[in-house]
Structure formats: structure tokens, C-alpha cells
């Protein structure tokens, strides 16, 4: 971890892209024999890119992102960040979990502070940690609720804390697994816009799973569409040419928007329609 965080970013002089998913397969042993979830997936991600992963339920999206976060290990192939193979989870690849994963006995600020104090121990001593915590809670509009426990926060507020905690660690990659799936449509749109703003300010590389085509089209530089499992692969990648900063209303008026939307719909509901649909 030491080497990972302190490595200068110029270390990637080997011409290798920032993040490389290099021919990974994931096979689970089951009582009925080996079960291949992911089959030989490769993807290269540039620094600062915003990638959305979309695909039917159970195809292996979480499994794929687990290989990047380090919670899972590939059966074959490897994932490299700045040319260093990923072997375990670490704060340089922060995860925003679908169920927020906040500690319920700590306030919003304490949840963020636990992360900051642990990852930047030197800041704890000179009081810099407090500043980082406050500024990141302010960034997600939660200064008022800083002292509230997760139990008295709404779903959207909890997800904001989780995002603040992740970004406070200045990760190289931010991984979000269906972060807005459980939120109401208005909160969802608000958070999407905030996420875009934060991403532009922080220049962080984002990998995000979503079930919503419109969410992917609004947020991503590229939309990675996965085929159905078992043995899922990347079926098609949409490169979105929409200019930034993006405005939802302007986006909706662009004819190209509907071209891409139709391509995604066609992929998901015709070429790779779920068997049971």
C-alpha cells in the first residue's frame, strides 16, 4: 500500500494506460462444477475517465468491479492500476457500496473522520484531518447534518456521506456499485449532478455500475455493456461524444442522445434480452 499511494503518477511511463483489466476470468467452484461468471474480459481506462457498466442482473458487474477494488481475485488474468497488479482492497480504490456501509454508531463526520485519520495519520496530529472532513461534508451539502448518526439520515444523505468518505481519501479510482439504485427519482437526479460536479473538480477516475441507461448516458464518457452470464464478456462499448459540462435538459434535446439510447436499448432488450423476459 505504501508503494501504491506514494508512487508518483509519472510512474506510468511504461505507456500502459492508467487502469488495465487484462484478460480476466472469474470462475466460482460450485457443487455442480466450476461456474464461469466472467470470461476473458479486457478493458483499458484512462486517468480521469468516467466509465459506466451496464448489464442484466446477475451478469457479473459487481464481480468485475470487485476485481478492481480488490475484494475479489481473478481466476485468470490480472487488473493493474498504474502498472501495479491489484491484490487486495485499499484506500486508493475507494468503494461507494450500494447499502452505504456507514457505521451506525458514528455520526456522519465521525464516519468520514475514521477513514481520513486512518489513511492520513500524519494529518490527524496537526488537525488537518478535521478540515478535510468538514470540506468534504460541505462538498456534498451535508455540513448541517455532520453530527447526525446514519439512523437519522435519509437514504440520499447516507449515500452523500458515503461519497464524501470515499472522496476525502483522494482515491485514484472511485468505484460505485449501483449507488443511486435505492433512491427516489428526484434525489437520484440531484446526486447524479453532484457526482458529475465533484468528478470534474477532483479529476478522479470513476467506475460505476448502473441499471439505468439514462443515468449512464448522462454521466459517462464510455458505457460498457456486458453480455448475459454465465461467462459474460463486454458486448459493446458506447463512446459518448456529449460535451461537458452536461446539462440534463440540453442533453435530452440532442438527436444523438436518442441514437445512443436506442443502441443501448437494442443491446439490452433485443440482442441480449434476459432469457426469462
Amino acid at each position: 500500500m505504501q508503494t501504491l499511494t506514494s508512487a508518483p503518477s509519472s510512474q506510468a511511463v511504461s505507456n500502459e494506460p492508467f487502469l488495465v483489466i487484462d484478460g480476466v476470468s472469474k470462475v466460482y467452484p460450485t457443487p455442480k462444477g466450476p461456474y464461469t461468471v466472467l470470461d476473458n474480459i479486457s478493458l483499458e481506462v484512462a486517468e480521469g475517465e468516467f466509465i459506466c457498466v451496464i448489464g442484466h442482473s446477475g451478469c457479473g458487474k459487481s464481480t468485475l468491479l470487485d476485481l478492481v477494488s480488490g475484494f475479489g481475485q481473478p481466476t485468470r488474468g490480472e487488473v493493474r492500476l498504474e502498472s501495479v497488479p491489484i491484490r487486495e482492497p485499499g484506500p486508493d480504490r475507494m468503494v461507494v457500496f450500494q447499502n452505504y456501509s456507514l457505521l451506525p454508531w458514528m455520526s456522519a463526520a465521525e464516519n468520514v473522520a475514521l477513514a481520513v485519520n486512518n489513511v492520513f495519520p500524519h494529518l490527524k496530529r496537526n488537525g488537518g484531518a478535521r478540515t478535510i472532513v468538514d470540506s468534504h461534508l460541505a462538498m456534498v451539502g451535508l455540513s448541517e447534518a455532520a453530527d447526525k448518526k446514519p439512523g437519522s439520515l435519509s437514504g440520499g444523505m447516507k449515500q452523500r456521506v458515503s461519497i464524501a468518505r470515499a472522496l476525502a481519501l483522494q482515491p485514484k479510482v472511485l468505484i460505485l456499485d449501483e449507488p443511486f439504485g435505492a433512491l427516489d427519482p428526484i434525489t437520484k437526479e440531484e446526486l447524479q449532478e453532484e457526482l458529475l460536479k465533484i468528478w470534474q473538480e477532483h479529476k478522479v477516475t470513476v467506475l460505476m455500475i448502473t441499471h439505468s441507461i439514462d443515468e449512464a448516458l448522462f454521466l459517462a464518457d464510455r458505457v460498457v455493456m456486458m453480455t448475459n452470464g454465465p461467462a459474460a464478456t463486454i458486448g459493446e462499448i458506447l463512446e459518448l461524444p456529449f460535451p461537458r459540462p452536461r446539462q440534463r435538459s440540453q442533453l435530452m434535446e440532442m438527436p444523438e442522445y436518442y441514437d445512443y439510447r436506442n443502441r443501448a436499448l437494442d443491446f439490452l432488450y433485443r440482442r441480449f434480452a434476459h432469457d426469462d423476459q
Partner: protein, 277 residues
């Protein structure tokens, strides 16, 4: 608005009304119980089963009116007898809490030890409290120490088991946070294991205090100088006119103290589990 104010006025006019309403079920049911008891006593004869009125009349002086009289030796008021029992429980129970949480912690943290010792725990926890008494008398050669040991060995199993389960059941959400932040062992135990386990530990402590109180009364009936269990057995052996009334009174006191102990531990549990589970 107008509804709210009129309700407020009503409440001010008759502040006792809601209280009386809440007390009604208790008055009706407890009163019914006492009446049924009195009737049963009349049928059986008050020498065999004293009714509530007999109990109060026959034990008023000195047992109810002077809980702290002391005629020397074991002839003491019920307040003293209960304090003697409580003191034994306090020592045995504190020891079992300290040792039980420590052992439960180890069994929960290490899969190897937890699995290996499981049969021992499962067998020993079903041993009835008094079965430990003869062996501890042989080992300690002292009735008082033996009684304390019986408390200890009776109370320790639910504490061990619940502590271990609490640690094993720490939600994966929390351990995932620890892994991605790379929390060191000390911080992991302090910030996650302990707060997540406290509610389980108190479940164990609450079961344990009930068992400890059961066990002390029984142990004192077998062999002890003083204590509420001794008082009951002594009253039975004395066989005087008011013996059965004394026993009934002592039983009521035992029940009330047991209830208070249970509530005390439950209260402490709520105080210490800061929003977890």
C-alpha cells in the same frame, strides 16, 4: 390546529386521566390475581397456603416493617439477607462478565479456537447450576466461595456464546469498510468489533444475570450462612406458624429483585450500545 388545542385543554383539566387509564389493566389483573389467590387459600386452608392478607399480617413485624434488623448470627432482616445474596451475585457475576467477554471475544475472533471449543461450550452450558455445587464445595472447601463459583460458572455461558456470536455476525458491510480502509487490528477492534458486538454482549449479560439470581437462591438453600435462599430454607425447617407466610414473602422479594436486576442490565445495555443494531 383547533383539535390540537382542545386536546391540550382536556389534558390540562384532568392530568390524572391518562395515568388512570394506563394503570387500569394492572389494577384489574393484579387485583384479580390477588383475589384468586386469597380464594384458593381459603379453600386449601391458610396453614397450607397463606393468602395475600395472611402474608402481610403474619410477616409485618419484623419482616416487612424492619428489613434491616440484626439479632446477630443469621437472624437478620430480609433487607440484609437480600444484600448478602446480592453481594455473592455481584462477585460471581462480575467475574463471569470479565472472563466470559474475554473468552467469547477469542472464540469469536478466531475461527480455529471458536470451532474447536464449541463442543465444550455446548456441553457445559446445559449443566444445571446446582450440579456444579458439590464439586466446587470439594475444590474450595468453603460454602461462600462455592456459591460464588456456582454463580460464575452458571452466568458465564450465555456471555461467552453471545459475545462470540456477536463478533461472528459483524455485518460484512462493516468488515468491507475495514478492509478498504486497511484498518489496523487495534483500530478494527476499537472502532468496529466492540461497538458492533456490544448489543450482543448485553443480551448475554441480561440472560446471565437472570441465571445468576436463580442459581444463588438455589445454592443458598443447599448450604450457606445467610442470604435470601438460606432464609427460605430456614423458615421451612423452623416450621412455625408464620413459616409459610415468610416463605411467600421471600419469594416475592426474590422475584422483585430479579426483575430489578434484569431491568438494570437492560438499561445499561441501552446506554452502552450507541445506535448499533
Amino acid at each position: 390546529m383547533s383539535v390540537a388545542t382542545s386536546r391540550g385543554l382536556q389534558a390540562r383539566k384532568a392530568p390524572w386521566a391518562p395515568l388512570a387509564k394506563r394503570a387500569t389493566p394492572y389494577i384489574v389483573c393484579v387485583g384479580g390475581f390477588l383475589i384468586a389467590w386469597q380464594i384458593l387459600s381459603v379453600i386449601l386452608g391458610e396453614a397450607r397456603l397463606p393468602g395475600p392478607i395472611n402474608v402481610v399480617v403474619q410477616t409485618w413485624d419484623p419482616y416487612i416493617s424492619q428489613p434491616f434488623y440484626d439479632d446477630g448470627g443469621t437472624s437478620k432482616g430480609l433487607g440484609w439477607q437480600i444484600l448478602i445474596s446480592l453481594q455473592r451475585v455481584a462477585i460471581g457475576y462480575s467475574l463471569s462478565a470479565v472472563v466470559g467477554i474475554a473468552i467469547g471475544g477469542m472464540l469469536g475472533m478466531s475461527r480455529f479456537i471458536g470451532t474447536g471449543f464449541d463442543p465444550v461450550v455446548q456441553v457445559l452450558r446445559t449443566v444445571p447450576p446446582l450440579a456444579w455445587f458439590p464439586i466446587s464445595l470439594m475444590v474450595f472447601q468453603d460454602a461462600n466461595t462455592s456459591a460464588v463459583f456456582v454463580i460464575f460458572i452458571t452466568a458465564i455461558w450465555p456471555i461467552i456464546i453471545n459475545t462470540a456470536v456477536g463478533i461472528r455476525e459483524i455485518p460484512q458491510d462493516y468488515t468491507n469498510v475495514a478492509r478498504v480502509l486497511k484498518l489496523r487490528k487495534g483500530a478494527y477492534i476499537r472502532e468496529i468489533v466492540i461497538p458492533a458486538t456490544v448489543p450482543y454482549v448485553f443480551t448475554g449479560l441480561r440472560i446471565a444475570v437472570g441465571l445468576a439470581w436463580l442459581a444463588i437462591v438455589a445454592a443458598e438453600m443447599l448450604k450457606a450462612d445467610g442470604g435470601i435462599g438460606y432464609f427460605i430454607w430456614d423458615a421451612y425447617n423452623a416450621g412455625g406458624d408464620s413459616s409459610s407466610s415468610q416463605i411467600v414473602l421471600a419469594i416475592i422479594y426474590v422475584g422483585i429483585v430479579g426483575l430489578l436486576l434484569d431491568r438494570l442490565v437492560a438499561f445499561a445495555g441501552r446506554k452502552f450500545s450507541k445506535g448499533a443494531a
